[in-house]
C-alpha cells in the first residue's frame, strides 16, 4: 500500500486532526513500528488518523487491525444493473468521504431545511478513527437459483466457490450469505456504525441489509511484533498471522494473482459467526484448556516453549490441539490472514452469553486457504466448545483507483 495519498482534506474534516500529516506516512511506511501502541499513546495522531481509501489493494485487509467492527451483508433488491452500478458509485463517494473523516454529501446540518440531511450526523466531531470500508461480492450476486444475475455469471471467479458443509456446522441462513458485504473497521465503534448506517441508507431501493454483526474486540493482529489480542476463551490464537509487512507472503497467500481477471489484486473474504459456549468453557480445567489450544494461557507460548512467538513444536501437542490442526505445517503450507473480532450480542434467553468470535479470513484462494484448514479442524478438540452458526464468502475486488469506483472491474 505504498505510494498512496491520504484522501482527507484537513480543512474539511470532521475536526482538526493533530498530526494528520503523519497519516499517509503511517500507512505507507507500514506497521513495523507497532501502530497499536502508537495509537494508544497519541489519540489525536495515529488512532484518529485517516487510512487512504484508494490504492492497489483495498484497505481493511492488510491494514493494521482496528479495535471495532461493523460487518454488514446486503441483498440486491433491484433487477436493474445500471441502478446497482449507480449505487456503487454513490457508495464509493460516501466511503471516500467517511474514511477521510468527512461527512457524506453536504453534511449533517447543511442543505435544505425541508430535506433530510445527507449525513446522519452521529460521527460529527469524531476523528477518522482509521476507518476502512472493504467491499466484497457474494456468489449470489453472480447467479441465484441457477439463474444468471446482471449478466455476471460468466464473470464469477473460480475461487468464489460455495463453501462446503463442514462437520458441526449449524448455519442460520439469516446470519449468512448476501450479495454484497461491507466490512467497516475503525478504532471508534460509532464511526464504524455510522459508516454502515449511511451506506445502508444510500442503498435503500437497491440493496437491503440481510444481516449485520458488531465486533467489539479484535482477536488478531497484522502487526508482527504487537501482542496478539486474546479471544473470549482468554487465549491468544492466531499468533502467526500474516502482516502488512510480509509483502511476499501477502502476494502469495492473500492477494489474488494476475490470472484472476478482474479480481487480480483483490482477495477472498470468508466470514464465520462462531458461537462460543462460554459457560462450559469456564468450567474447564486450566490443563484441559491449554491442551485444547496447544498453548499456555498466561504467556501464550506453544506447548513446551517459553514465549508466545517461539516456533511451535507440533509433535509435542495433543493430536487434536487447535494450534496443531490449524498450523500451516499440517495443511500443506496453507496460510490465511485472520482479522476476526469478538462479539457479545447480549444474552440468549437461557441466561448464557450470546457471544463468540466473528471470524474473518482473507486469502488468494479459499480452496487453498480456509476450506482445507477448516476441514483439518474437523477433529479439533475445541469443537466441543464452539459452533459455526453463520457463514459467508465474498470476492473483494482490488483497490479503487483514482476516478474509479467499487465494482468498476466487475461491471466493466
Amino acid at each position: 500500500m505504498t505510494g498512496e495519498q491520504a484522501e482527507a482534506r484537513p480543512g474539511m474534516s470532521r475536526r482538526r486532526m493533530l498530526g494528520f500529516s503523519g497519516a499517509s506516512l503511517l500507512v505507507g511506511a507500514a506497521a513495523g513500528a507497532g501502530l497499536d501502541r502508537v495509537a494508544s499513546a497519541d489519540e489525536d495522531g495515529a488512532a484518529g488518523a485517516a487510512i487512504a481509501f484508494r490504492g492497489a489493494h483495498q484497505a481493511g485487509i492488510a491494514t493494521p487491525v482496528q479495535d471495532r467492527l461493523h460487518f454488514a451483508a446486503f441483498d440486491v433488491t433491484t433487477d436493474d444493473r445500471d441502478r446497482l452500478v449507480r449505487m456503487l458509485k454513490e457508495w464509493t463517494d460516501a466511503a471516500a468521504a467517511m474514511t477521510a473523516g468527512r461527512p457524506v454529501g453536504n453534511g449533517a446540518a447543511a442543505g435544505s431545511p425541508v430535506a433530510p440531511p445527507d449525513d446522519t450526523g452521529e460521527a460529527v466531531g469524531l476523528p477518522p478513527s482509521r476507518l476502512t470500508l472493504t467491499i466484497g461480492f457474494g456468489p449470489s450476486l453472480f447467479e441465484k437459483d441457477g439463474e444468471d444475475r446482471f449478466g455476471l455469471r460468466a464473470r464469477r471467479p473460480a475461487a468464489l466457490v460455495d463453501l462446503p458443509h463442514f462437520p458441526g456446522d449449524d448455519l442460520d441462513p439469516d446470519r449468512g450469505g448476501g450479495d454484497i458485504a461491507v466490512q467497516a473497521c475503525a478504532d471508534d465503534p460509532q464511526v464504524a456504525v455510522h459508516a454502515i448506517r449511511n451506506l445502508a441508507r444510500i442503498g435503500f431501493g437497491v440493496v437491503a441489509v440481510r444481516w449485520s454483526q458488531l465486533g467489539f474486540g479484535k482477536t488478531s493482529s497484522t502487526t508482527p511484533d504487537a501482542q496478539t489480542p486474546r479471544n473470549l476463551f482468554g487465549f491468544k490464537d492466531g499468533t502467526d498471522n500474516l502482516g502488512e509487512s510480509d509483502k511476499a507472503l501477502l502476494d502469495e497467500h492473500v492477494w489474488a494473482g494476475k490470472g484472476d481477471g478482474w479480481m487480480a489484486g483483490g482477495s477472498y473474504l470468508v466470514a464465520r459467526r462462531i458461537r462460543m459456549h462460554i459457560e462450559t468453557w469456564d468450567r474447564t480445567s486450566l490443563r484441559e484448556q491449554e491442551d485444547i489450544f496447544g498453548r499456555g494461557k498466561g504467556e501464550g507460548a506453544p506447548v513446551g516453549r517459553e514465549k508466545e512467538r517461539d516456533k511451535p513444536v507440533l509433535a509435542r501437542m495433543k493430536p487434536d490441539a487447535h494450534v496443531r490442526l490449524a498450523h500451516p505445517d499440517s495443511n500443506h503450507g496453507a496460510r490465511i490472514l485472520r482479522r476476526g473480532y469478538s462479539f457479545t450480542d447480549g444474552s440468549d434467553g437461557l441466561g448464557r452469553l450470546e457471544a463468540g468470535l466473528f471470524f474473518i479470513a482473507f486469502q488468494s484462494d479459499p480452496r487453498k486457504g480456509f476450506i482445507p484448514v477448516q476441514q483439518s479442524l474437523a477433529t479439533d478438540a475445541l469443537n466441543e466448545y464452539i459452533q459455526h452458526v453463520g457463514s459467508g464468502i465474498y470476492a473483494c475486488p482490488p483497490g479503487v483507483r483514482e476516478g474509479g469506483h467499487w465494482g468498476d472491474g466487475l461491471f466493466a
Binding site: T77, S112, P113, V114, A115, P116, G205, V206, A208
Partner: protein, 375 residues
C-alpha cells in the same frame, strides 16, 4: 398513529390550521440568509421588522432557560405559522411564506402560547409561484375532504353494527371504516385534539390517560379481545361526533405543497414503517395491511398530484418514486384476500422482511420530495 403522549395533546389549543399560507410562493430569497430572532424567557427580538413578501427564513435562537415556541400571528390573532420545541441554547431555521400584511411575531417561553411579541410589516407581492402547485394543493384538499366523507360514511355503518351488538358485522366493517382516515392521516393529525380521541392505541397511553381512552382501537379491542361491544355504544357515538367535528374544520384549513403534501407523504410512509410493518397498529384485529395500503395510497395520491413538477425538476427522483411505488404495490397484491388482505399475524417473517425492505426503498426517495417541491 403512534404519538409519544397521546392525550396530552388533547389539552393543547387547536393546532395551527395553516403552516404556509400561500401555495408554493417562491418569493425572493433573503439576501442575508434569514431574519435573526433572539428569544429569551422574557424577550423576543427580531433583527428586521420591515420584510419583503415571499418565502422568509426566521433563524430563531433560544437564549433562555425554557423550551420556546415561535409564532407568526395574523392581524386577527390567528396563527399563520408556528415552530414548537426550540430547546434552550438551540436555534432553528423556520421557513414561512409571508403574504404582504401586518403580523405579530411571538416567542412563548414554556410554550404556553403567550409571551413577548413584536410587530412586523410585510410589503410587496410574493412571486406567483408555480400555478401547478397551487392547483395540486387545491386538488389535494378536495381529496382530503372526500376521504374524510368516506370514512364518516363507513364509520356510521360500523357504529350501527356496534350499537346493535352485532360483533361479526362490526368486525367486518371495522377495517374499511378506517381506510379514508388512514389515507389522510397526516392532515387529520394536524388537529391535535381530535386525533388522539379517535385513533389512540392502548399501548401508547400513560396510566392516567387510560380512563379517557376512546376511538377506533377501543372498539377494536372490545370486538376482538372481549368478543362483545355491550356498553360501548357511547364510544361509537363519540367516534362519529369527533369525526364530524374534524369535517367541520376542514374548510378553513390551508394546506401547502411542501409541508402538508410532500411532508405528509413522507409521514404516511413513516406510519407504515413504524406501525404497520411491525403489526403494532392493529394489535387485536391484525388488519394492519388494510391500513398499510391506505397509507401508501394516500402518499401515492400526493405524489401523483405533484408529479408534473417533480418530473420537470428531478426526473431521476420521479423515476425512483415510480419504481418503488410499483414495488410496494405489487408486494401488497401478494397478500390480497377477498376485498381486503390476509390477517397480519399470518404474514411470516420472510414476507414481513420483504415488506419492510420495500417500505424503506420507497421511504428514502419520498423523504427527498419536499426539497424538490420547495425549489
Amino acid at each position: 398513529m403512534r404519538p409519544v403522549s397521546v392525550l396530552a395533546l388533547a389539552g393543547a389549543a387547536a393546532v395551527s390550521m395553516s403552516l404556509l399560507a400561500a401555495c408554493g410562493g417562491d418569493g425572493e430569497a433573503d439576501a442575508a440568509g434569514g431574519i435573526a430572532v433572539t428569544a429569551t424567557d422574557d424577550s423576543c427580538e427580531v433583527a428586521k421588522t420591515e420584510l419583503t413578501a415571499g418565502k422568509t427564513t426566521f433563524k430563531v435562537s433560544n437564549k433562555g432557560s425554557k423550551v420556546n415556541e415561535f409564532e407568526v400571528l395574523k392581524p386577527d390573532g390567528k396563527i399563520l405559522a408556528e415552530r414548537e420545541n426550540i430547546g434552550p441554547g438551540t436555534s432553528v431555521d423556520f421557513v414561512v411564506n409571508l403574504p404582504a400584511g401586518q403580523y405579530k411575531v411571538l416567542c412563548s417561553a414554556g410554550q404556553t402560547g403567550k409571551g413577548p411579541s413584536q410587530n412586523v410589516t410585510v410589503s410587496g407581492k410574493a412571486a406567483g409561484g408555480d400555478q401547478r402547485l397551487a392547483q395540486a394543493t387545491a386538488d389535494y384538499k378536495t381529496y382530503v375532504i372526500g376521504k374524510l366523507d368516506d370514512t364518516i360514511g363507513k364509520t356510521r355503518k360500523f357504529v350501527d353494527a356496534v350499537k346493535a351488538d352485532d360483533v361479526a358485522k362490526a368486525k367486518e366493517l371495522y377495517a374499511p371504516s378506517r381506510v379514508g382516515w388512514e389515507t389522510i392521516e397526516p392532515v387529520a393529525e394536524k388537529f391535535g385534539d381530535i386525533d388522539p380521541k379517535v385513533d389512540a392505541r392502548e399501548a401508547d397511553l400513560k396510566p392516567e390517560e387510560k380512563k379517557d381512552w376512546s376511538g377506533w382501537h377501543l372498539l377494536e379491542k372490545a370486538l376482538w379481545e372481549d368478543g362483545s361491544v355491550k356498553g360501548k355504544e357511547k364510544y361509537g357515538d363519540r367516534l362519529l361526533k369527533d369525526l364530524e367535528t374534524l369535517k367541520s374544520r376542514l374548510p378553513g384549513l390551508t394546506l401547502d405543497p411542501v409541508n402538508d403534501m410532500a411532508g405528509g407523504a413522507k409521514e404516511l410512509l413513516d406510519e407504515v414503517a413504524t406501525g404497520k410493518v411491525t403489526g403494532e397498529e392493529e394489535a387485536f384485529s391484525h388488519t394492519d395491511l388494510v391500513d398499510f395500503k391506505a397509507n401508501v395510497d394516500g402518499a401515492k395520491k400526493i405524489y401523483d398530484l405533484l408529479k408534473p413538477v417533480v418530473q420537470e425538476r428531478d426526473a431521476q427522483l420521479a423515476k425512483d418514486l415510480d419504481d418503488n411505488f410499483a414495488g410496494v404495490e405489487s408486494l401488497l397484491k401478494k397478500h390480497e384476500k377477498g376485498d381486503g388482505y390476509v390477517s397480519y399475524d399470518k404474514v411470516g417473517k420472510g414476507d414481513r422482511k420483504d415488506l419492510a425492505d420495500a417500505v424503506n426503498a420507497l421511504g428514502e426517495p419520498l423523504s427527498k420530495l419536499a426539497e424538490v417541491v420547495a425549489k
